[in-house]
């Protein structure tokens, strides 16, 4: 049980490391949001499950934290992405723009 918990915790820490690396290395805002949220969501899940294996009596609280992160991370990142869509320059190599109907398009990256 203890070995499993440490394996889980190591995987979680690794995901956090990759997320931090992605925030440093990714080229633009949207990629950075992706690295920051996707990697840290999974990292937090595995880390908390590892802690739960080590201390089974904490499991209900940890489950609540997991539910919180499962809601907060995607919603927060989507709000951030929308706000940066409205206020930042879009990257040049954009292939598809699904939000263009919603906001009525952007001219020259302004407005």
């Amino acid at each position: 049980m203890e070995i499993a918990s440490y394996i889980f915790m190591t995987i979680g820490g690794l995901f956090y490391l990759l997320g931090g690396l992605g925030i440093l290395r990714m080229p633009d805002t949207f990629n950075r949001i992706q690295a920051g949220t996707k990697a840290t969501t999974l990292g937090a899940f595995t880390l908390l499950i590892g802690i739960g294996f080590n201390n089974p009596e904490w499991f209900p609280k940890l489950l609540l934290i997991i539910v919180f992160i499962a809601f907060a991370n995607p919603i927060g990142s989507s709000a951030l992405a929308k706000a940066s869509y409205k206020s930042c320059d879009l990257p040049d190599n954009l292939v598809q723009d699904d939000l263009i109907d919603l906001f009525g398009g952007k001219e020259d990256g302004l407005n």
Binding site: L64, F68, F71, A72, I75, K82, K86
Partner: protein
């Protein structure tokens, strides 16, 4: 009639103050006070080796102050009167915001963005968890770090989340005002009960219990929950004042 009653109340209070200041045990005449029995001298005289018994978490009883969290022991027991003043400062600041920004008819401020379905529904799910965490922190203020002020701020932050994530949301602000006045009045009433039955304001009348239990430390958890309710409703009122404007 109202003025007459107020005059009578002032007279009675003044009489009580004059009588209580007149050469008794608590307020001796000038130059006759026994300073060595005062609070500050008692704490200056105290040493760490006087009573070196171990205090075991979950077992020790009959302690001088019951909470397991030392900060709570200071904030809500030794200088609880000062905490009452802090709560009053917050009350005055929220009153000032309400006087400046509040009016008779208020409507929601128009946001220049429209939150989508996911944000609205998801933030309602998050609201419950954040509110629960805030209440938990306020209730466990005498056992863990935190307490009434952070717990109340967390309750108010859940309200702020709803205000920002839904551009039509409006809290029932009247309930907040009633909760706030109830909590403040109850705090003062607890203090006056201590003055009446024990001898000084906000005295810890109840049993201290076993250190580490949820129901321990006498009136401290009650006071901290009241502070949490008051802080939460006050900051929620401030948020409502900032996010509304006059209009129908």
């Amino acid at each position: 009639m109202k003025n007459f009653l107020a005059f009578i109340a002032v007279l009675v209070l003044g009489y009580m103050i004059v009588v209580s200041l007149d050469n008794n045990e608590a307020f001796p005449a000038y130059g006759e006070a026994d300073v060595s029995s005062r609070v500050s001298q008692a704490f200056i005289d105290r040493t760490v080796t006087e009573d070196p018994g171990d205090i075991i978490f979950g077992q020790a009883t009959n302690l001088e102050s019951g909470p397991a969290n030392i900060v709570t022991a200071i904030v809500a027991d030794y200088r609880s009167f000062d905490t009452l003043g802090e709560v009053t400062v917050l009350f005055v600041s929220s009153l000032g915001v309400a006087l400046l920004l509040g009016g008779k008819k208020q409507k929601r401020l128009e946001l220049n963005f429209h939150p989508n379905f996911m944000l609205r529904v998801g933030s309602r799910a998050l609201f419950g968890i954040i509110l629960m965490t805030g209440v938990y922190i306020a209730i466990h203020g005498h056992l863990t770090p935190g307490g009434g002020f952070p717990g109340g701020a967390m309750i108010a932050s859940s309200m702020l989340l709803l205000y920002l994530a839904d551009d039509e949301f409006r809290a029932k602000i009247k309930g907040f005002k009633m909760l706030e006045s109830f909590a403040g009045t109850a705090y003062v009433l607890i203090g006056l009960t201590g003055l009446l039955l024990g001898g000084y304001f906000l005295e810890n009348l109840l049993d201290n219990g076993v250190i580490g239990d949820l129901f321990s430390a006498g009136i401290i958890p009650i006071v901290y929950v009241l502070i949490g309710l008051k802080v939460g409703s006050e900051i929620s009122g401030i948020i409502d004042n900032f996010l509304t404007e006059e209009g129908v």
